[in-house]
Amino acid sequence: MASETHLPRQMLYTLQQSSQNILRSPLMSLIVVSTMLIALSTLGFLLLVMSDLNHMSDEMATQLKIVVFLDDQQDIDKIAGDIEAISGVKQPLVKVDREQALEMMTQDLPDLKEILETDNPFPASIEVAVTSIELMDDVGESIRGLVGVEDVQFNQELSYQLEKVQNSVQLVGAILAAVLILATLAIVVNTIQLAVHYRHTEIEIMRLVGAPHWFIRLPFILEGLIFGLVSSVLAAVLLLFWRVVPYAQLRQWLGFLPLSDSLMPILWISGLLLVAGLGVGSLGSLLAVRRYLRLEV
């Protein structure tokens, strides 16, 4: 290993070698960076889409309502307050008193309305939305336990249906993400190996004139890191651009869909891409150089 006094010099040397290699094989560097960029931004794009789909289906879920029927004698505002205190309940609630209920139930049946005018059998009700569809059952149960609640109704079948859709979208997204992450890693490692392969004569010559392994390896690894850094930063910029320009357009066209406009997911995805880029870049170089160094007799 480098003796202590050599360390800063070695670092400088490594940095200089790496940048020289990158600049003197511009075509090579371009191909490697563009492959990494494509792979990483595809991955980032998938992750972003998944995060958006998630957000969207949560939004949609809140349009499904729980209907709470009240005892005839209860104060609708007090119970509404109790309901609002339950976690997972979305504000504001929609309150329907007994008169409104009768009105709604009988508007298509004028005959019935006459019959019931004097004796209104319909209770007051409150419509409750939840922040996430999985909470539907729990919130329903909690409300059922409140004093003054006569009955709680919600389209359980439908809520299950929507939950299934959500779950399957999430499951499929996770499988796709896993497949794509593995594919990205493998492809990038392969590409870097090809690039190193291209330089195996150089590696061979360096060995023959007495360069120790670490001395040969370090510039390659740093090169992999630089490729990883450049391509993941570019991928993040691409994602940001997608979000700010074409996606913003899309949101306008698809006004009926509750599309997220948060930039938050870009943040964590970029972080992840950076880690992946650096990791895979250096790992790929390491593996590839090792292949040649292992040939050492």
Binding site: A2, S3, H6, R9, Q10, Y13, Q20, N21, R24, S25, R199, T201, E202, I205, M206, R207, L208, V209, G210, A211, P212, H213, F215, E296, V297
Partner: protein, 228 residues
């Protein structure tokens, strides 16, 4: 310095390049290695810095049995051995200057010191004017001189030159040979393979002759050449 004990080399292709070589080379001596093409000169040289491993026998260099070196000790051996390769083996992506400085980088020698030394050897080998060119921009003979410069720049105790003048005109050949002789005078052990009989005859150093893998003549530890 160097001792071959019954060394044989069979390549994986089945070719027996060296057969039971026994040879001793004294520290600080100058030795020529001659013989027809394919007689095993390059193979013998490759064994000395572990580019190849012998398939039989023992080989001592720097008082170490180098057949037994662990992979991590090999770079050290090569750092102490300057090699002029028959096919030059210059780094294609580095300039002439960088190629020569590379072996000093390996040793961690400071840039200022590097500058002095690289400048010096490029002048000695007459190639300083091309210092910023890449190998592909040089003529055959110019590349060969860069290879010589790289081999001697770190003043190694052992210098192996495999056909170092095959692409040089007679004048330049003489210049390089005199340079090698001068380096030998400073204590470096020098082993040169060559086909250039006029050089061998005029320089009157020990000459070892190989043929189909065996030593067929050796002018001995003295300084006389083989009779033609």
């Amino acid at each position: 310095m160097i001792r071959f004990e019954n060394v044989s080399k069979v390549y994986p292709s089945g070719v027996q390049a060296l057969k039971h070589i026994n040879l001793e080379i004294q520290p600080g001596s100058f030795t020529f290695l001659v013989g027809p093409t394919g007689s095993g000169k390059s193979t013998l040289i490759k064994l000395l810095f572990r580019e190849e491993l012998a398939t039989e026998g023992n080989l001592w260099v720097f008082d170490k049995n180098i057949e037994l070196l662990s992979p991590s000790e090999v770079p050290r051996l090569r750092q102490q051995t300057g090699v002029v390769f028959q096919d030059f083996k210059l780094l294609p992506q580095k300039t002439v200057w960088e190629n020569v400085a590379f072996v000093l980088d390996i040793l961690g020698i400071p840039k200022a010191e590097q500058k002095k030394r690289v400048q010096g050897v490029l002048e000695l080998t007459g190639i300083l004017h091309a210092k910023d060119f890449y190998p592909r921009q040089l003529s055959g003979g110019e590349q060969q001189r860069v290879s010589v410069a790289r081999a001697i720049v770190n003043k190694p105790p052992l210098l192996l030159a495999d056909e170092p003048t095959g692409n040089l005109d007679p004048d330049t050949t003489w210049g390089i040979m005199k340079l090698l002789a001068k380096i030998c005078k400073t204590g470096t052990t020098v082993l040169v393979s060559t086909h250039n009989h006029s050089v061998v005859e005029r320089m009157k150093h020990r000459t070892v002759k190989l043929d189909t893998g065996s030593i067929v003549a050796d002018s001995g530890q003295g300084v006389r050449t083989l009779g033609k």
